[in-house]
Subunit: 138 residues, 2 copies
Amino acid sequence: MDHKTGACRAWELMTRFWLVQRGHLPAVAAEFDLSPVQVHVLYLLEPDRPVPMGRLAEALACDASNVTGLVDRLEARGLIERQPASFDRRVRVLALTPSGTRVRTQLQRRLSAPPKRFDRLSAAERQALARLLERLLD
Amino acid sequence: MDHKTGACRAWELMTRFWLVQRGHLPAVAAEFDLSPVQVHVLYLLEPDRPVPMGRLAEALACDASNVTGLVDRLEARGLIERQPASFDRRVRVLALTPSGTRVRTQLQRRLSAPPKRFDRLSAAERQALARLLERLLD
DNA sequence: TATTGTTATACTCTATAACTATA
DNA sequence: TATAGTTATAGAGTATAACAATA
């Protein structure tokens, strides 16, 4: 019982954290003049790692038709571009433009900046947390 | 330096987790025939804890005008209801209906169910994680 | 005067269904 | 035949500006 309770408590807190952060995303996105989903897309597109459009739909858990418009608007802003895929002529892969790469770098820095309440944990505790999360997230 | 790196690594992983979960939300919401933001609203409305509409806008980091339509649709489905606020006649507070309370309970159970990869951590590690997260989230 | 919530408007996000090109 | 992506369409989510009621 303690076993199960412990697991649930930790996961419950992870869920709470996730939903609180979800509430912060619109404001963070607005700092970059982006929408929440645009932030998510940019986050998923790592530099020099083109992603097929279908893979994006999977990661966002949305319909493929939705990705078309999403990509249209990001492409119109010059942040990403469609490229043909060498392995299959039906597939279009997405790559960051130089401009998109710069925005993504700033975004990553912004998202990775720990909030001030992180000070509550000592260096050792932070490392312990990082190790636990690493094992949890692959 | 180790200090700062440790903090960033842990937070970076929290951020990664958050965005991965964000990708899962549409599918979870669909299980309940809800949209992601509707799940978020229901999660924020605890039973017997009426919330002013303006507070909801804050928590979602969205404009107040947006909350009107959001609440309209949830109210039309009989999950929540607007009530007058005793302390200020301009304010409308939101409360779960009995039906909304039931849906929220199921939702909470669904969201709190730890994924199978939680097995990677021992009971002691899960407790340690829960303790660290508790201190981090207030 | 300032604030809470609504309305009108416009644009983005999203899914469904039908389509094109390729496999 | 099956799959990747697009188009057309409709509805939900979102912000801005103007408004009504109340503080």
